[in-house]
Symmetry: C2
Subunit: 319 residues, 2 copies
C-alpha cells in the first residue's frame, strides 16, 4: 500500500485555505497541504492559544491565529476540524466574513447534524460541502497529526441536492490530492454506515474498558497485565478523544441506537448459545467473521501482518 | 521493549520436550525452544499429517510425528497446544506412555476446565502444571508462529494445592526462558480475569462483525471500505481461530456469562445516556477509559504508537 505523498504541485489548488481546529485531523491536513503546496496561503485558526503557539512552533501554516473570524477572510476553502458540538458557534462566528464563492467544508464524523448546524449560517453564494475523511488514530492535538494519514483511506462527501457541483468537485479534488479515495452519498446514509463501522465499535470499546475498571473481583493491575488477550485492542479505541466522541453520540443518536439494538439482539443470541453449550452456532459465526477480515485486507484497508502488540518483523531469530 | 531472545543455553532445561499441537502457539514455542536450545531433544506431535509435513519442512523439531502416544515416550516436559475441546482425548492417548516424574503442561485459555479434563488421566508420579501464556495473534497454523511471541507477555500458572512445587518451578523457568513474565493463581481466578480481558472482548468483536455482515441497509462493500473508523480493529480479533474460541466459550461458560452480564448492564446505561442526550455521562466514561490505556502502555503491554492502520513511521514527508 502506498504510504508516500506525491511531489509538491506547481500551482496550488486553492489560493487561500483556512483550517479551523488544529487537532489530529486539522494538523494532518495542514502537514499534507504544506507538503503538497495545495494552498497559496495556508491559515490555521484555533480558539486555543496553546494550540496556536504549538502550530507556530511546528511551522504548520503560513498564518496561525486565535481569531477565527479574521482567519476566514478571503479564504477560498474553509475546513472545520472542530468537534461537532462546536459547529454552530464557529459557523455563526465566521459567517459574516465568508467571501462569495467560498467553499465551507468540515471533517466531522456525523453528517446530518453537521448540515443542520452549519447550513442556517451559510450566506448565499457560499457553498457548503460536508466531508468526512474516515481516518484517524487514538491520539489528539497538533503534535498527533501526520501528512500521510489520509492515503488510501476513504473520504465521504455528503452534499445536498442543491449543492453546486463545481464546489463538490473542488472538494473531491482536494481529498484526492491528499491521497484519499472519495465517495459521495447522502448525509443520512453516511450516518447509518458510520454508526456500524465506527460509532458502535467505539461505544462498545469504551463500555468494556469501563466494565473492566469497575470489577471488584479482578484488580486493575490484572486487567492491565493480561490485556494482551484481546482487551488491549479495545483500550486503543477507548483512548480516542472524549469531546469528539461525546459529540458523535449526541449527534447521531437515531442511527447509533438502531445499530446498537441489532448488536444487542445478536449478542443475546450468542449469550444463549454459550449458556446452552451450542458450539455449532459459535463456530459458524466465528468462521464467517474471518471472511470479512480477509476482504478488508484484500481491498487494502489493512495489512495482513499479525498485530497483537507483537509483529513478525520483530522476530530477530531468523526463524 | 526488548524484542530479542537471549543467546542459546549451554545446557538444556529439559532433556526431552514434547509439544502436542503445532499451531500458532505450539510452533512459536518450538521456534523459541530451538533457538534457545532449551531441549536436548524436541519432539513435535500433531494429529494432522499436513501440519507434521510442514513442521518437518520448516525444521521446527528434532522429531515430528503424527503418533501422539509415541511422541511423549521418555519426555520430561509435555505441553498440550491443542484446543481445549481435544484435551480429554489427547490425555487419554498419552497417559499410558508418560514416564514417572514427567511434567504435563498446556497453553489453554481456560484453566478450570483444563484441569477437569486432564487430571483424571494423569498417572501417579506425573505432575500436572496447567499454564496459559497470554499472547497470540489472529493467525493460525505452524507458519503463523514466531519465536519472540512470548517476550514481555505474562504466562499464568494454575497449579492445584497438591502440585509438586519443584514441577511448578520447572515450568516457571521454562516460560521465563522464553522471555515471559510468570504469575501463579488459582484456575478459578484465572478464568474470571481472562473472561474480562480476553473472552468477552473476543465475543463482542465476533458479534459486531456478524451484526455488520447481516445489515440490509449497508452493503458489505461499504462496511469494508469504511472500516478504518474503528470496525477494522474488531475484525482483527474476530479473525481468530474458530475452533479454539468455540472451546473457550464452551469451557468458561460461568465466568463469561457473568462478565457479559455486567457488560450488558453498563451498555444499557450508555444507551440510555445517548437516548436522553446525557453528554456528561458519556464524556466522563470516555475520559476515564483513556487512563487505563495509558497504564497499559506504561507497564509495557503496548507501545504508544498510534495504529489505526497507519503509523507515524510511515510518514515520509519529514513533517
Amino acid at each position: 500500500m502506498p504510504d508516500r505523498l506525491g511531489p509538491p504541485r506547481e500551482t496550488p489548488l486553492f489560493k487561500r485555505i483556512t483550517l479551523i481546529g488544529l487537532g489530529l485531523i486539522g494538523s494532518s491536513i495542514a502537514r499534507a497541504v504544506r507538503h503538497l503546496k495545495l494552498a497559496g496561503t495556508l491559515v490555521a485558526a484555533d480558539a486555543s492559544p496553546a494550540v496556536i503557539a504549538r502550530v507556530s512552533e511546528l511551522g504548520l501554516a503560513d498564518i496561525a491565529t486565535t481569531d477565527v473570524a479574521e482567519a476566514v477572510t478571503d479564504a477560498d476553502l474553509v475546513i472545520l476540524c472542530v468537534p461537532v458540538g462546536a459547529y454552530a458557534e464557529v459557523a455563526a462566528t465566521i459567517a459574516p466574513r465568508l467571501k462569495p464563492g467560498a467553499i465551507v467544508s468540515d471533517v466531522g464524523s456525523v453528517k446530518a447534524a453537521a448540515i443542520a448546524q452549519l447550513s442556517p449560517h451559510i450566506p448565499p453564494g457560499v457553498h457548503l460541502v460536508p466531508a468526512h475523511p474516515v481516518a484517524g488514530t487514538e491520539h489528539s492535538g497538533p503534535d498527533a497529526g501526520f501528512a500521510t494519514l489520509f492515503i488510501d483511506r476513504w473520504s465521504i462527501l455528503t452534499p445536498t441536492d442543491d449543492t453546486d457541483p463545481a464546489a463538490v468537485n473542488a472538494v473531491r479534488g482536494f481529498w484526492r490530492a491528499l491521497g484519499s479515495n472519495v465517495e459521495v452519498m447522502t448525509a443520512q446514509h453516511h450516518d447509518l454506515v458510520l454508526a456500524i463501522t465506527s460509532h458502535v465499535p467505539h461505544l462498545i470499546a469504551y463500555n468494556i474498558v469501563g466494565t473492566a475498571a469497575d470489577l471488584e473481583e479482578v484488580t486493575q493491575s490484572e486487567v492491565i497485565k493480561f490485556s494482551a488477550g484481546g482487551f488491549r485492542d479495545f483500550t486503543r479505541i477507548a483512548a480516542s478523544d472524549p469531546t469528539m466522541w461525546r459529540d458523535v453520540f449526541l449527534n447521531n443518536k437515531e442511527a447509533v441506537l438502531e445499530m446498537l439494538g441489532r448488536f444487542n439482539e445478536d449478542l443475546a443470541a450468542l449469550q444463549r448459545a454459550i449458556r446452552w453449550g451450542d458450539g455449532q452456532t459459535l463456530f459458524d459465526l466465528f468462521t464467517r467473521t474471518r471472511a470479512i477480515r480477509r476482504n478488508i485486507i484484500a481491498v487494502g484497508q489493512e495489512t495482513p501482518e499479525p498485530d497483537f502488540g507483537r509483529r513478525r518483523g520483530e522476530d530477530s531469530t531468523g526463524q
